[in-house]
């Protein structure tokens, strides 16, 4: 039974940041995502929940076109970011990914120094004119990643030498360093212990002030703790999407209820 502490939250009425209409995803002949329609709001944490293989990660990867790197993957339908179709032929995925950052399931810092991990994105996008500006971006990003105090004295040490939780916060800092507008997180806490998870969740809540955050999670408690909006995916369908409080207390669809009460999944 679901009985995690939960407080009613109200979502400020904000603009729609990402709007998906009739999205279909095929892996070869496998129809992985079926007719997904969703409006993701700005300055909001949106959680995607659902059993393994339900397509929530696949859909997340559509939002910054990471699926482009998979040859057999086809995406149909329309996904708009601020009213612009991100699958338009004129859109360069590189520019899109600068706007829509991503944090992965497994912490994946570059095998470079902590400083270079953060500075890489700003460097390739030309965000800093000189070393001082770059230093400033690195510090700001590490502070936003809530890891500055732990690493400020060893910026030249390899990022791979940090603990798992620190690595993941480093990856979040790296993702925010390019000043994205949307931050996609694919099960960011699945490789972390409860303390590191709590730190990352706190961080996600802080990030909401500046970004639209979309988080895929296996943990329903986590979805309830960090998100304002929740979408429940099942077998490639978006079953239900709404206020987190409503999904967890009074779901409309029986499948959602079965899942959050632990009967399916």
């Amino acid at each position: 039974m679901y009985d995690a502490p939960y407080t009613e939250r109200t979502t400020a009425v904000t603009d729609v940041k990402i709007s998906a209409r009739d999205v279909q995803v095929y892996y070869g002949d496998n129809h992985a995502i079926k007719d997904v329609n969703v409006d993701i709001q700005d300055k909001t944490v949106t959680a995607f929940i659902g059993p393994s293989g339900c397509g929530k990660s696949t859909f997340l990867r559509c939002l910054n076109r990471m699926n482009d790197t998979i040859d057999i993957c086809r995406v149909l339908g329309k996904i708009e970011l601020d009213g612009e179709d991100i699958y338009d032929k004129r859109v360069d995925p590189v520019q899109l990914r600068a706007k829509v950052g991503m944090v992965f399931q497994k912490p994946n810092p570059f095998p470079k120094s902590i400083y270079d991990n953060i500075a890489y994105g700003p460097r390739i996008h030309g965000l800093a004119k000189n070393k001082a500006e770059l230093d400033e971006i690195v510090e700001k990003s590490l502070r936003r990643g809530a890891i500055w105090d732990e690493v400020k004295d060893r910026l030249s040490e390899p990022g791979t030498g940090l603990s798992g939780g620190q690595q993941q916060r480093l990856c979040i800092a790296r993702a925010v360093a390019t000043e994205p507008e949307v931050l996609l997180m694919d099960e960011p806490c699945s490789a972390l212990d409860p303390i590191a998870t709590a730190q990352v969740e706190e961080l996600i809540d802080e990030l909401r002030a500046n970004f639209s955050v979309v988080i895929v999670t296996h943990s329903m408690q986590q979805a309830a703790r960090v998100s304002q909006k929740t979408a429940f995916f099942h077998l490639g369908n978006l079953v239900e999407y709404g206020e987190t409080g409503k999904i967890f207390t009074n779901p409309e669809d029986p499948r959602t209820e079965s899942y959050i009460t632990g009967r399916i999944g």
Binding site: V94, F110, G121, I124, R174
Partner: protein
């Protein structure tokens, strides 16, 4: 649920200190397997030691050579009849003109060392000295014409039969049938050695010199063919590194996966298995007959070896690229790097140790390759002249170390057999250096993630 693992009745049924039959069988199988492995390693080690002993034992003699030190009177009546010391006049005297001078000096030395020697005529001493001695003295005189009329000390190569006698290769009982040397010459050699006129020492010319004709084994060296190998390696490195790395990166990171790239992949694997002599005949028909490049040129050899080496570089390079975790690519793409940036900033540095190792092993194989070179005319006896300059070296007919070794090994005179083993030592030293470099580079570039 959890009580399923407790035996019925809560009792342990078997003693831990007694081995049951199944465990005994399993332990026996394990011990057997270890014994097989150990045997295999011991056998391998035995053959390695045998090989090393054979190579060093047979080849180390090639680095030492016998020299005879004689005082030659540079007779002006023979070398400069006009007395004008005109260099053109001096050059007109051929090596035959020098023979009597050297032979007289040698006869004196022999008679001084062995007063009762049966050698009475100066002409009979020529079997003691290398045929190359005449040219050595003549070259010295042309370089120093002012020394004509003086008595100058020369350190000249002893004949290969004399050298072989002192190394134990030529036996007294065998020289009866040998028209190149007689027993009295061997006696004279012993006497010269005792008198200190004949000395045995390290011969740098074996490492640095050029190949010599079949009758002058004592003069032959590896230097020129070593240079040929060096030029070929330059060509192979300059071509196969960029082409091989570019091809692997394209195939691994950018090419769509379809039947065409599958076909290319299969064919690269096939090419790696093609016998090298096939590449030789390809080089002969394409580069020499069709392309009009000169025969025996290290440039052509390098091109042929590049063709042969490329698949052997591409395969490990692709494996190294494939071994880079996909999460690194995701991370780079996720912060908005393009695919090219992802490859060059993140994937390639991580794959570099593997690529470099493959490259150096490929170069090592190319360095030891003989068969294709024989087909394009880079046979050993070509390696007799040094090129005129650095760039001329690519086009000047030359050989390569393994082809030189092959050439020596097939010559009739047993003195060349020793030199072939010596050449193998030099080649192995180069290969060891390259493998060592591969290890050092891998250590240097290796990074953990």
């Amino acid at each position: 649920m959890t009580d399923a693992s407790i035996p019925e009745g809560g009792k342990v049924t078997k003693s831990l200190v007694q081995l049951d039959a199944r465990t005994r069988r399993r332990n026996a199988a394990e011990a057997r397997f270890r014994a097989y492995g150990l045997t295999a390693i011991v056998i391998g080690f035995f053959f390695l030691i045998t090989l090393m002993v054979a190579i060093v034992g047979n080849g180390v003699g090639a680095f030492r050579q016998s020299f005879i030190t004689v005082e030659v009177f540079l007779d002006p009546a023979k070398l400069d009849k006009n007395g004008a010391r005109d260099i053109e006049d001096i050059k007109k005297v051929s090596t035959f003109g020098y023979a009597p001078l050297i032979q007289n000096a040698l006869l004196e030395a022999v008679q001084a060392a062995q007063p009762d020697t049966p050698i009475k005529k100066a002409g009979d001493t020529k079997q003691l000295i290398s045929a190359s001695a005449l040219a050595a003295v003549r070259d010295h005189v042309i370089a120093n014409p002012e020394e004509i009329g003086q008595t100058v000390e020369f350190r000249l190569l002893a004949a290969s039969r004399v050298d072989g006698y002192l190394k134990g290769r030529v036996k007294r009982e065998d020289v009866v049938r040998d028209k190149n040397i007689n027993v009295e010459h061997l006696d004279a050699a012993d006497a010269l050695l005792a008198a200190g006129t004949l000395t045995r020492s390290f011969n740098p010319e074996f490492v640095l010199g050029a190949d010599a004709s079949e009758s002058r084994a004592e003069q032959a060296g590896m230097g020129v063919s070593m240079l040929g190998s060096f030029y070929m390696m330059l060509v192979v490195l300059a071509l196969s590194l960029p082409i091989g790395v570019a091809a692997s990166i394209y195939l691994e990171e950018f090419a769509p996966k379809n039947w065409f790239t599958d076909l290319i992949e299969v064919n690269i694997s096939n090419l790696a298995a093609v016998p090298s002599i096939v590449f030789g005949i390809l080089g002969l028909s394409v580069f020499i007959q069709f392309g009009g490049l000169p025969q025996s040129a290290p440039l052509v050899g390098g091109l042929v070896l590049t063709l042969m080496t490329l698949p052997r570089i591409i395969i490990p390079a692709r494996a190294a690229l494939k071994a880079v975790p996909p999460s690194i690519r995701d991370a780079a793409l996720g912060v908005g790097a393009s695919r090219t940036q992802t490859v060059f900033h993140h994937v390639l540095p991580l794959a570099a140790p593997g690529i470099l190792t493959g490259l150096i092993i490929g170069l090592g194989q190319a360095l030891g390759e003989t068969a294709p070179l024989l087909l394009i005319g880079m046979v050993g006896f070509v390696a007799t002249n040094l090129p005129d300059g650095f760039f001329a070296g690519f086009m000047t007919p030359n050989s390569a170390m393994p082809a030189q070794i092959y050439e020596w090994a097939k010559r009739a005179d047993p003195a060349f057999y020793e030199r072939a083993w010596g050449g193998i030592i030099i080649l192995l030293v180069f290969l060891l250096i390259m493998n060592f470099a591969a290890i050092v580079l891998r250590r240097k570039f290796e990074r953990r993630w």
